[in-house]
Structures are given as structure tokens and as C-alpha cells.
């Protein structure tokens, strides 16, 4: 059976189901569009509500939503690529997007811009971020940055004042400050002040920038040196030894885990966790105490490390049944005020200026924290690096894996650092 035949068959079968379910004439149903994203309960709830709004406004297009946790998302997408049945619209992140583009799984949007797809009110920086070799591939939903989220009640209980010049300056504190404050919180509340980022690649990537080095050199080789890797792990070792973090083996058990429900601030095992800024809203949904937002810690030199980058993109896939309808849906997803009103800031600060203005009066407490965070970090972040080369994803997972032996004290830091860099080199050479 050819692809086309199966599509027609599935489309027809879908129409029959829709017909029996809704009692409408089959042919008035028109096109079926599938939207697939990775999510959390909060995001899923909002996105399904958005889809309902779209379906009501566009009776001739039926969008159906599919969602999975981040850990399983790309696995499923991979099998769908193999089967030639990727959903029409998929969510992508800055990390892996470029591998999908390079491999042709995601197709350019240029033909639809100005027709079914309206990007006239999208920030130029967001459009640039989704453009590769002069072709526009990926529609940025919102902006994102690295964020430390902290339990304000625990900070308060430990008597830590917050603000510029206070004990804890959320936009200008060092690793030494963190070790000190973290230990103080542990002392006062019994909860570790901060999670241990020894195996956290996001933090490590900031640290590389804070050392004034690019993560990938011009020629695609890895930028971090033996000294930088050693210093990073030693810094966290000092924090651990100061008593500011959970025990090493406990952190080791969480290496590479990306579930919001496993965050220290959510499980109550740490007062500070480290996330992407758009995850604040989802995390706050799981915690009663109000969460505060801060940048990642810095070195005494205070060189910017975090970047502002697109949080997520919506992309059109090679397998889309009806690109016209799919791009119309994508367009509404980032422009329609009713739909974006439901999405709020859960996928980052919207790239459409009108949407931002419309959202302002309706923000929840967590969303307001998020907006204030973005205002505060302007000018304090590093420039967006070029897209990572292929293999970078594997380097990241290797980092998380080998860092566990630092947490368990199995090998010396210099040994593990040497091992990691050797593996990173091999991965990039093989990719």
C-alpha cells in the first residue's frame, strides 16, 4: 500500500468516526490536522483548550492533539519518522531542531508566509532563530532562559533577605554566595538550600560561557577545556561540602531526570531548583509555597552565561497531509488572542508583541514573576550561539552520565573531566 493510499484510508476512517460522533456530514469536516507536543499536565490542559477554540472557530479543519512527556517525546517522533506518519505540526526545541531540519523531517514555511501563515507581528529575533540557510523553518512560540526557582517561604524562614545588595541578589550572586546561603537554609530549615548541579548540563553550559569560552568552536570542536570542566565540578563540590546540597548519591539518582515532579523544590528536598524559565508556571502548579525566580549563579567575574533563546517552536513536518491547514493552525497558535490568552506564558514569553500586550492584565502570580524576571535579565545575558552541531545532544547525555561518578566520589574530578572530554571528542568526530 502506498503512503497516499493509507493516508486517504485513515482520513476517510477519521471522517467516519467524526461523522458518527458529531452527526455532521462527512465532507464538511474537511481536513484533519495532528499537533504533537511534549508537555506537563499544566501545558496539556492549556493546549487542549486552545485546540478546542481553534476547532470551534474553524469548522472545516479538525485539529487533534497528542502529547507525551519530554523523555518519550523524541522516541515516538523517531518511530513516526520511520513510519512516515509524523503529525502535521510538531513541537521542537532549540537543541535538536537543527538535526531535524538537516535531515529533512521538518520542511520550510516560506511558501505559506503571508498566505496561511502570518508572521508580521513576530519579533525579528524570533524569526531569525528559526531561520537556517536563508529558509524559515520554525515558528518560535516564546522566549526562554535559564532560571533558578526558589521556595520563598524557606528563604524567609532562614532569614535571608532578597534584593540588590541584600543577602541574595537574584540577578547578581556568585557560587560562593550560593554555598553560603544554601548552608544557612539547610541549617535553619533542614531542607538543602540548593540542588546539586554537578550533573546538570544547562548549568554547565552557562559556566562555560561565564569562563569566556564558546561551547563549540568555529570548527565544530568542543570548547570547554580540562581546566573549565574541573573548575565546574570543584565549585559544586565545595557547595556540597558546605552542606548546601542534598547528599551526593541522592543527586546522582536524579541525574538526567527532566520531570518537573522530581525537582527538589517540588519534592521538598531542596529550596532551589534549576529549570528553563517557561517551566516556572508548570512547577508553581505543583507547589503551594510561592516560588521566586533568579538567574543561575555566576563566577566572581560576572560574565553573562545564560542566553535568551526560543523556548519552543512549532514546525511543519515532511508528512503533513495538508500544509495549508496546518500552517493556518500554526498561525492562529501564535497570533489568535483567544488562543494565546489560554496559553499564557507557559511556553515562554510570547514572540508576538500584540499578544504580550493583551496578556499583561491577565497574568497569574507565577506569570507575573516570569515577566519580571525577563525584564530584569535584559542586558545581563550572553549572545545566542549558532545552532549546536549534530552530536551535541549525545555530548550532553554523556556529561550527565559521567558526572555521576563525581557525585558518588568514585573517581577524582580531573580523571572524570579527562574521560568526559575524550568521549565528547569521539562523539563529535563520529556524528
Amino acid at each position: 500500500m502506498s503512503k497516499l493510499n493509507r493516508r486517504l484510508f485513515l482520513g476517510a476512517a477519521g471522517s467516519v468516526v467524526a461523522l458518527s460522533a458529531l452527526g455532521r456530514p462527512a465532507f464538511a469536516q474537511g481536513t484533519q490536522i495532528r499537533h504533537f507536543w511534549w508537555g506537563n499536565p499544566e501545558r496539556d490542559r492549556r493546549t487542549f483548550a486552545v485546540i478546542d477554540i481553534f476547532n470551534q472557530k474553524n469548522p472545516n479543519i479538525t485539529v487533534s492533539g497528542e502529547t507525551l512527556g519530554f523523555a518519550d517525546y523524541f522516541t515516538k517522533l523517531t518511530t513516526q519518522i520511520a513510519g512516515g506518519n509524523m503529525p502535521d505540526v510538531i513541537q521542537q526545541g532549540y537543541g535538536v531542531l537543527f538535526e531535524y531540519i538537516a535531515n529533512g523531517a521538518v520542511v520550510p514555511l516560506d511558501d505559506y508566509v503571508g498566505k496561511s501563515l502570518d508572521i508580521s507581528r513576530i519579533d525579528q529575533s524570533a524569526i531569525d532563530a528559526g531561520t537556517v540557510d536563508g529558509k524559515f523553518y520554525a515558528l518560535s512560540i516564546g522566549a526562554n532562559s535559564h532560571m533558578a526557582i526558589y521556595n520563598t517561604r524557606l528563604y524567609e524562614e532562614a532569614g535571608i533577605t532578597i534584593g540588590e545588595g541584600a543577602d541574595f541578589d537574584p540577578y547578581g550572586y556568585t557560587y560562593d554566595d550560593l554555598a553560603r546561603i544554601g548552608a544557612q537554609i539547610k541549617e535553619a530549615t533542614g531542607v538543602a538550600g540548593t540542588e546539586d548541579n554537578t550533573a546538570d548540563y544547562q548549568n554547565f553550559s552557562d559556566f562555560i560561557a561565564q569562563k569566556g569560552v564558546a561551547m563549540f568552536n568555529e570548527d565544530g570542536t568542543y570548547g570547554a577545556t580540562q581546566e573549565i570542566v574541573e573548575e565546574y565540578w570543584s565549585t559544586w563540590q565545595k557547595t556540597r561540602e558546605a552542606g548546601a546540597t542534598p547528599a551526593g548519591p541522592e543527586s546522582a539518582g536524579l541525574a538526567g531526570v527532566s520531570d518537573l515532579s522530581q525537582l527538589g523544590v517540588v519534592t521538598g528536598k531542596a529550596a532551589t531548583s534549576y529549570v528553563w524559565s517557561n517551566q516556572l508556571v508548570g512547577a508553581q502548579g505543583l507547589v503551594e509555597d510561592p516560588l521566586g525566580a533568579a538567574m543561575y549563579p555566576n563566577t566572581p567575574e560576572m560574565i553573562p552565561g545564560s542566553i535568551i533563546q526560543p523556548s519552543q517552536f512549532v514546525c511543519l513536518t515532511r508528512d503533513s497531509v495538508d500544509p495549508e491547514a496546518a500552517t493556518a493552525y500554526m498561525s492562529a497558535f501564535i497570533n489568535d488572542l483567544d488562543m494565546t490568552g489560554v496559553l499564557g506564558l507557559e511556553r515562554g514569553i510570547p514572540s508576538n508583541s500584540d499578544v504580550r500586550a493583551a496578556l499583561e492584565p491577565t497574568l497569574s502570580a507565577a506569570e507575573a514573576v516570569s515577566v519580571a524576571f525577563f525584564d530584569a535579565i535584559q542586558g545581563k545575558t550572553a549572545a545566542l550561539a549558532p545552532p549546536p552541531p549534530s552530536g551535541s545532544n549525545e555530548v550532553e547525555q554523556t556529561f550527565e552520565r559521567v558526572a555521576v561518578s563525581v557525585l558518588l566520589g568514585e573517581k577524582s574530578i580531573p580523571e572524570v573531566a579527562k574521560d568526559f572530554l575524550a568521549q565528547a571528542k569521539a562523539i563529535l568526530a563520529r556524528a
Binding site: 529533512g104 555521576v404 558518588l408
Partner: protein
């Protein structure tokens, strides 16, 4: 030929759903995977023929491949005998004719039905967490349990225990085997003043040898292919420190995390050869210790 066809048509017709499924869903993918093992294939791009490169890389440069073999062999060598001994022990206890034996059989078999499921693996993760039930019990007795899952020294043991816990299916086979041993032999041995140990090694084990052999081969193959427990407990990556990097977990990671389908196919064929070799060895050695009643020797 025509006669053959006419005579067997109905049979083949009734078999056809299975035959079609077999050729389309089994033979087809097997041949495709053999072909892909000689290619570089990332799913999106067409496969690219690279000859033996995947295998050369695997044996010469791939340290994680070696680690995966080591983990898998350790698991097989420890979990299979442990499970069989445990299963035999329980079967012998049940064979003594306790009341409500059917109920016990069902109860002991239950873990084997649930065993491969994701839910049980997640449950296992909860049990062995640092704050989990196992350490809670240890704390009751004043001990402080280790980080079972985060410490590579212990993580594999939690999976071995999980495997042994699923002793139900070999246990049932043992039970059937034990029932088939004539009681007169034991009675005769008792008259000759044989103790329980002597009876076990002189009567039970030799007469049960075919069943032991059957269970050994089946459980060994199962253990080599074991996946879901390690996958769930290690979060899909073989963590901590690759101590749970079962061969199948590594294969999955190469295929679905790094999109190296060609390499993953090559890994799958290596696993097939390993399992075939071990099964062949088991059959070859069985000549020396497995005797069947109807054999003339």
C-alpha cells in the same frame, strides 16, 4: 503437485493469517534489519552502505558496547541460576501437598504475569528509592540502607532481585516435573536409609534434569533479552554510570536517542548470535547431564 495443493489447500487457507503475518511482520523486518546492520541509517535519510564498519567500530572502539556486554552477562550468570534455585525450592515446598495448592500456585505465578510490565518496574523504583519501602524496613531495624538505585554497586542487584521474584513460570514447570517422579523411588531410598540431601541429589535432580534443562534455556534467553525493568529503573539511559546498561537498553538508546538505526541493527544481530551460541552450548553440554526416561543407554 496439483494433488498436493488440492489436498492441503484448506490447511494453508486456515494458516494464511499466520503465514502472512509471519512473512510480513517477522521475516521481512528480520531481513531488513540484517541489511541495515551494514549501513549508516538515521531514519530520515536513505540508508548508506558501509560494509562491516558498524561491526568494526563496535568491537574495536565502542567502550559502551563492552560495558553493555559485561552488565548483561553478569545479570544472566547471576539471575538465571538464582531464579531457578528459588523456583525449585518453592516448587518442592508446594509439592508436599499443602492445602489450597491451586491458590498458592496462582499467587506465586502472579509476579511472572506482571513482571514484564512497566507498572512493576516503576513500583520497583519506588521500593528501592533511598526513601523507599526497603530502606524504611531497614531503618526499623536500625540500619541505614544504601542508595540502591543511584549507586552502581547496588543497582544491578535490585534488578536481579526483580528477576528472581518473577520465578512463577519455571516454578510451575518444576512442579509438574516433580509430580511426575514416581514416589516408589523415594520410598525405596528411605528403606536404604537415604537422607533428604541424598534423595534430592540421587533422585530428584537426575529425574528432573530435562525440566531443569528446559527452564535453563528458556530463562537464559529471557535474561539476555531483558529490557523493561532496566529501561524504567535507569530512566532509559543505563544510569547510574552505565551499571544498568543492559544490551537491549544500549541498543534502544543508539536507535532512538541518537538515531543510529544501522548501528542498532548491527547490535541486534550480535545479540542474536550471542543468544544462539549460548543456547547451542547448553544443548551440547546437555548430553552429559540430561537423560530422558525413554532413552536407551
Amino acid at each position: 503437485m496439483e494433488k498436493f495443493f488440492r489436498r492441503n489447500f484448506a490447511g494453508y487457507a486456515f494458516l494464511s493469517p499466520w503465514l502472512i503475518g509471519f512473512f510480513l511482520l517477522a521475516i521481512g523486518p528480520i531481513l531488513a534489519s540484517l541489511y541495515l546492520s551494514f549501513t549508516k541509517y538515521n531514519i530520515v535519510r536513505p540508508p548508506q552502505w558501509i560494509g562491516l564498519d558498524n561491526f568494526v567500530y563496535m568491537f574495536e572502539f565502542d567502550d559502551r558496547f563492552k560495558k553493555a556486554l559485561q552488565v548483561t552477562f553478569t545479570f544472566v550468570v547471576i539471575s538465571v541460576p538464582a531464579k531457578l534455585i528459588f523456583a525449585l525450592g518453592v516448587a518442592m515446598a508446594l509439592d508436599k501437598g499443602i492445602r489450597a495448592i491451586g491458590w498458592y500456585r496462582a499467587l506465586f505465578y502472579l509476579p511472572s504475569i506482571l513482571g514484564g510490565s512497566i507498572a512493576v518496574a516503576i513500583l520497583w523504583r519506588q521500593l528501592f528509592n533511598y526513601d523507599g519501602v526497603i530502606n524504611g524496613i531497614l531503618r526499623l531495624f536500625g540500619g541505614d540502607g544504601p542508595y540502591w538505585l543511584a549507586d552502581p554497586k547496588y543497582s544491578l542487584w535490585t534488578l536481579i532481585v526483580l528477576a528472581v521474584w518473577q520465578f512463577g513460570s519455571p516454578m510451575l514447570t518444576f512442579l509438574a516435573g516433580l509430580r511426575a517422579i514416581p514416589q516408589e523411588l523415594y520410598e525405596a531410598a528411605e528403606i536404604d536409609a537415604a537422607g533428604p540431601v541424598r534423595k534430592f541429589f540421587a533422585i530428584t535432580v537426575p529425574l528432573l534434569a530435562p525440566v531443569i534443562f528446559f527452564n535453563l534455556v528458556l530463562q537464559m534467553i529471557e535474561a539476555f533479552k531483558s529490557f523493561s525493568g532496566a529501561f524504567i529503573i535507569s530512566g532509559g539511559s543505563g544510569a547510574p554510570l552505565d551499571s544498568l546498561l543492559f544490551f537491549t537498553v544500549y541498543l534502544y538508546e543508539e536507535a532512538f536517542s541518537y538515531l543510529r538505526m544501522g548501528y542498532a541493527s548491527a547490535l541486534a544481530w550480535v545479540l542474536l548470535v550471542i543468544i544462539a551460541a549460548f543456547t547451542a552450548i547448553a544443548f551440547w553440554t546437555s548430553k552429559y547431564w540430561v537423560h530422558y526416561e525413554n532413552e536407551r543407554g
